[in-house]
Amino acid sequence: MKITRRAEFSASHFCANPALSRDENQALYGEAANPHGHGHNYILEVTLDGAPDPVTGMVMDLKQLKDVIQQEVIEPMDHRFLNHEVPPFDKVIPTTENIAREVWRRLAARLRTSSALLDCVRLYETEDLYVEYFGENAR
């Protein structure tokens, strides 16, 4: 059974590879390459896969899940300029793909319980664009 919790944060970023020229970055990342940055209202959906505990009827306490997301993702990233304020994005380009993987890295260890595992991190950059990450072992 899968359970999903949704959370939001607002942050600014830009996407440019320092090894590439300005034109190459523009062709690859479009308007997102502007080094002054721009913002998004990111929507994060965290999905766990597991079986409900026979006594409590819960895969995981959703309040606990909310608290973990709050501590690991929302507090460090909300209202921040990711490239300048949130490592590893001083070195790793904060594409939607890379942010989804970083969210996974921050959450996976804390969400591993005897009955549930992190299944998917879905990150909406806009209403019309999202990335899902299923972990490095998923096919």
């Binding site: 996407c15 479009g30 594409t95 019309d128 999202y130 299923f134």
Partner: protein, 118 residues
Amino acid sequence: MYRLARRYRFSASHRLHAPQLSAEQNREIYGKCNNPHGHGHDYLLEVIVRGEPDPATGLLLSVARLDRLVRETVLADFDHRYLNAEIEAFRHTPPTTENVAIEIHRRLEEGWKDALEG
């Protein structure tokens, strides 16, 4: 493993009518969608890709390039058109949601290599 989904919108009209079937059968199967004058929808298209990002760029693919491919091969032809009359694939095949999806997939596959892997 990663998946990236991108949404696009277009508005078009269509009529569902299978030439192999009788007028009565068409009315029974397609209902209001068989109205000979056609009718319109605001279509929402979701294109989903799967894979691993390029470690240098952090991108599964360039969304800017995907946008251009979809704009040039799908939206430019489909948006504000009567699909049955103006899209070759639907002259003799009913533009059901299924067939529209198949045609869009075919067009994207055809242009994919040049647009995204060049």
